[in-house]
């Protein structure tokens, strides 16, 4: 097996001189150069670059001799290779060939699909480096772009073979003698772009709000193509998160934002959120089905097949509605007008500086009042919940918690970072309990609705009985969540959280 390859390039990133490479190595080794192969190299990753984040590089290489997947790992672990036939993009973890490569990739990408993030034709020549016994002790891949417009320069990759590291080092030294060098570290973009962490609490609140809202608009735009193509469920999820954050930011920013934001844009984004909800609910069902199947005791997982088919039909119908909505003139106008509104907001913000006018609300002041109000509401509503409170009270409290969470996120650039991190941790524990409570109720209610639809369609009793088992399990889970609520809430409003909230301006 080979270790992670070491790449070398000519000083100007130009073409490679094969004869010079062979000549340099012939001093110590025998080299056998293979024919040039046209290789299509597609780098695969999820939309949010989960493999890259984990330091993994996955390539799908196709040539006349076949297709293979190559996974390069961050440490000196050998790359994992796997034959791949008919792998189509997008591909999920279960579409990858069974084996070690899939075992590494699967937990990293989770439910996301792999897409080709770059796709290029290259000309690759393999050079085998042999010792005097004819044993291959190192390999080189001379990899050159076919298109002159390629942004990826030609490079030699030195592949070290296990147990023959000395030979690979010697090979690299010999190649450096003809001017080949490791490539410069990748330029990750200009350093002078201000990050949100740079913002001073004294900056105008509208500057912070405009920046945050622009970011959410960017996330909506980025996720739209994958959402429309139904690449994986996370495009819709991330799109909805951006919409929800936009709505919360508009609400939190009311004291600083112009009235039009409330009168026009809050309802506009409510429409957009509502448009995406039915499809997301069905996605959640599909994602949870494997877990739910595992709950069955009396019924067999196969009994749920009519339910699965019913879900798929419903999802197809909801998807058509969603796609129509997102391709409508109304959506196009919303995005175009929203972008103009944000540009206007940014222009107005740049004219406002706290030094020039004491009337301007600062980001720090808005953060303090928003977090304070949101925390007070959570404490008040949560304190009023008793064992007999209706479910709606807990649902309403969950919304209050989300408002506090968004306030802690939106104002991150101007609040105390360690206190914020701990406060989010405290809040998350409470949100998890409330989430379990509401998800169980909503899923149980939807299952009953689906069952009624299926019965009227003439579905077999087996499927409905199996769904009944799931409803029973969800009811029990809801009861458990209600029991857990009291202690989770008591922990959240305890002295430790109050101290943290005070530091964030929120315990008033």
């Amino acid at each position: 097996m080979t270790s992670a390859p070491r790449a070398l390039q000519s000083a100007d990133g130009g073409p490679l001189d094969l004869a010079a490479v062979e000549g340099a190595l012939s001093a110590d080794f025998t080299v056998v150069t293979g024919p040039a192969r046209a290789v299509r190299q597609a780098r695969l990753d999820t939309f949010d670059r989960r493999l890259d984040e984990a330091g993994l590089t996955l390539e799908h290489r196709s040539s006349a001799s076949g297709e293979e997947l190559v996974l390069v790992r961050p440490d000196s672990a050998p790359p994992l290779l796997s034959p791949a036939t008919d792998l189509r993009s997008p591909a999920f973890a279960h579409d990858l060939p069974d084996g070690a490569l899939r075992a590494v990739v699967s937990p990293v990408i989770g439910i996301r699909a792999l897409m080709a993030v770059t796709d290029e034709k290259r000309r690759v020549r393999r050079v085998e480096v042999h010792d005097q016994d004819g044993k291959t002790v190192a390999r080189l891949d001379l990899d050159e772009p076919v298109a002159a417009t390629s942004t990826q320069p030609a490079e030699v990759r030195v592949l070290s073979l296990r147990g023959y590291d000395d030979a690979a080092r010697r090979t690299t030294r010999l190649l450096s003698g003809i001017g080949l060098r490791p490539p410069e570290a990748e330029d990750r973009g200009p350093a002078d772009v201000p990050s949100p962490e740079d913002m001073a609490p004294a900056a105008a609140a509208t500057v912070l709000l405009a920046g945050a809202l622009n970011g959410y608009l960017g996330a909506m735009r980025e996720n739209l193509p994958g959402l429309l193509d139904d690449v994986d469920t996370e495009f819709l999820h991330d799109f909805r998160v951006a919409v929800r954050r936009t709505r919360s930011t508009l609400k939190l920013g009311r004291p600083a934002l112009p009235e039009v934001m409330r009168s026009r844009w809050e309802p506009a984004f409510k429409w957009l959120g509502d448009l995406t909800t039915p499809m997301r609910d069905l996605d959640v069902y599909q994602l949870d089905l494997p877990t739910m199947s595992g709950w069955l005791v009396a019924a067999a997982p196969g009994d749920l097949e009519p339910f699965v088919a019913h879900l798929q039909r419903r999802r197809s119908a909801e998807r058509r509605t969603l796609v129509r909505g997102l391709r409508s003139a109304r959506y196009a106008a919303l995005v175009a007008d929203w972008e103009r509104a944000l540009t206007d907001l940014a222009d107005t913000s740049s004219d406002q500086t706290p030094d020039q006018s004491s009337e301007v609300l600062t980001a720090g002041a808005l953060a303090g009042t928003s977090i304070s109000r949101a925390f007070r509401r959570v404490a008040r509503d949560g304190g009023a919940v008793t064992a007999d409170s209706p479910s709606e009270d807990l649902h309403s409290l969950r919304k209050r918690c989300k408002e506090l969470r968004y306030a802690l996120e939106v104002f991150t650039p101007v609040i105390d970072k360690p206190a914020r991190k701990s406060a989010v941790g405290d809040l998350k524990a409470l949100q998890d309990v409330l989430g379990r409570f509401q998800d169980s109720e909503v899923q149980g209610a939807a299952l009953r609705e689906f069952a009624e639809e299926m019965v009227s369609d003439g579905t077999s009793a087996g499927a409905v009985l199996a769904m009944g088992e799931l409803v029973g399990r969800l009811d029990a889970e809801q009861d458990r969540a209600r029991q857990d609520f009291e202690s989770a809430f008591a922990r959240f409003v305890g002295p430790a959280t109050r101290v943290r909230m005070q530091r964030l301006g929120g315990a008033g």
Binding site: M1, A100, T136, L161, G163, Y164
Partner: protein, 245 residues
Amino acid sequence: MRVLAAYNIKGGVGKTSTAVNLAYLSAREGRRTLLWDLDPQAAATFLFRVRPRVKGGGHALVTRKRPIEAALKATDFDNLDLLPADFSYRNMDLELDDTKKRTRRLGQLLEGVAHEYDIVFLDCPPSVSLVSENVLHASHTLLVPLIPATLSLRTFDQLTRFVADSDGPRPEVVAFFSMADRRKRLHREVIDSIPRDGGRVAETVVPALSIIEQMAERRAPVPAFAPTSAAAKCYEALWAEVRPA
């Protein structure tokens, strides 16, 4: 990680050819594969053009003075590594005899690389010894090449009893006929008459073919240098029969 051992009490029956060719086929499928050449004659090591030398010898491995990982060598084939033979392996029985849990040490050593490999092949020396007992305990499957001759059947019988008498979890025994010549009446009769109650007998019969002998000259597995040959097809069929799920 699944461990398959090419094993027979007799020598010259095709153990090394089996281990080398099946290990190659396993790696070709994308399974991370290791072949440990336990035979001091180092035939498998020679076939992969690797020098038959392990720093510190069998003593360092068995006593864990050197980690097994340090001795591993990549072969010329993707996904296939070799733990080479060393002439000192001739004393491996003595080395094992000095260790605690002397019949399980090889299995313990392999556990150290279990995260790196999906399949391990053991190419065993022909004998009944402490090394053999270790192989029994370390393996999930014993692949037993048999030459179709009366004495081979007797040896197979001895081997199945040896496995049955061993303590602890026992490997599955899968015999198959190797170096068979169907033109010979005796070979045909033995193949047809082998009792199938002592262990599983694979359907695949590997004939005596000169291309298998050429492995020593070409220093490569048959499916690598003659992928369309009858011998390569035989090993593919055998692998399909014994391949772990």
